[in-house]
Symmetry: C2
Subunit: 234 residues, 2 copies
DNA sequence: CGCTCGGTTGATGCACATCAAAGGCTGTGG
DNA sequence: CCACAGCCTTTGATGTGCATCAACCGAGCG
């Protein structure tokens, strides 16, 4: 218990530097995290499932989680990739009896700060600035979905390129154009509504041309210009 | 000027019955609409364009507006259909220097209550209940987008069916299963990322089988069961 | 050593897009 | 009042991007 508490305190130090909590006093941050606990996930662990009653929301501390929905065909459609600093499930906290609209699954070892809904209602709700910050995060996410929708008729290569660029933009990884999360071709496919094979054909083409490099699930962009060129259909 | 003011007052009576303002005192509603003005649009008028600086948000009073985004191919992708009671552009009010992420265009004669951003910041922001109501509306919208994303691999017929059902659900039109807005095949196509011709082929099939009926742009669903059956790919 | 998981490649087919052409309907301007 | 332009719908013919199916390979792992 002492351990859990100090883990929480350590995590608070970590999350304080996220844009979400920038310039917020440590006391306030502690309050906003009241009742919170650190969840350590390993690869493919889930935080919650689509359709379950939503009792908690939270913040991604490290690693990454994918948010997916089951499709009528039994497959999964990936709705969003959440990286450190992202808020998860805050959106539905405003509802009286919320259900999770997605399943959250860890991609590689990850950590998550899980906060009870009650804390949202008692501490976040009456803190307009925090609500606004949350809205800004969500507005970004909404924007991404709309971008993707605008690309629905574009060729697959353009969609993959856009996804890569978007993921690169979220976390400025210095000059090393490395994606901030481990990503399989299948996950890219599920995110874009394409088949694994098609995604592979696009990307191994790029590999051969030296635009990108992958080892393990780490994708590195060598020639960003080329990828950006693909975005606009060559 | 007296006219404008009384028009606003009349509109406030109207919007008071929307879920957004349910059980909110008239005084409060007036405050929330401070500086608001009624915009009367005719078919294909626009409220604002993609990329413009966002100085206002607002509420749809009557008719309908489509929210669309230009695509790289020069076409338009429709992101959302907004019907009476919907809030438009509230989302981006939280941002310091917001730009409209969509273009809003009237579908047939419509009316809109246009409210300055300042009112959002001074009256809405500090009213947690209102913020929550806005979030709930947006959460519905987000949910719809996610539904559509989950259907990305479904056959076109399923997508059209889902769209129709979703639009029916938003406004319970008694037993008359009439869509609450005038909708062209092109608009359906732009909303789903399909071609007009394909949408027409699907829908004229349904017409011949007597599932639906259209006159003008008014679509009436005769056999909802059949349409719902199409949603799950037969 | 068999297992699962991720990546890759080729052959085949289909659900759509695209192109083309036509008719109705509305508004607009000479 | 007619001509003309735009918009919406429809139908058919043709083409293609991508899904699907079917193998196969290498790596990690109990």
């Amino acid at each position: 218990m002492g351990d859990a508490k100090s883990a929480l305190e350590a995590a608070i130090i970590e999350i304080k530097s996220f844009p979400l909590f920038l310039d917020v006093s440590e006391v306030t941050v502690s309050k906003l995290c009241e009742g919170g606990q650190i969840v350590v996930s390993s690869h493919r662990n889930t935080l919650f499932h689509f359709g379950e009653v939503g009792t908690h929301f939270g913040v991604v501390i490290s690693g990454a989680y994918k948010l997916s929905r089951p499709t009528p065909q039994g497959e999964d459609a990936i709705v969003h990739f959440s990286t450190p600093g992202d808020v998860i499930a805050a959106f539905i906290m405003a509802q009286p009896a919320p259900k999770y609209p997605v399943t959250a699954t860890a991609m590689g070892p990850s950590r998550y700060l899980r906060i009870p809904r009650q804390t949202y209602l008692s501490h976040w709700k009456n803190h307009p600035d925090m609500i606004f910050r949350v809205q800004n995060l969500l507005s970004t996410r909404m924007g991404q979905m709309q971008n993707q929708k605008a690309q629905i008729k574009a060729p697959l290569a353009a969609k993959v390129a856009t996804l890569l660029v978007e993921l690169l933009n979220k976390h400025d990884h210095g000059n090393e154009m490395m994606l901030p999360l481990p990503l399989t071709r299948k996950e890219i496919a599920d995110s874009l509504g394409a088949s694994v094979e098609s995604v592979i054909r696009v990307m191994s083409d790029w590999s051969k041309q030296g635009f990108i490099q992958t080892s393990d699930q780490q994708i590195k962009v060598i020639k960003p210009e080329k990828i950006i060129a693909e975005m606009n259909c060559e």
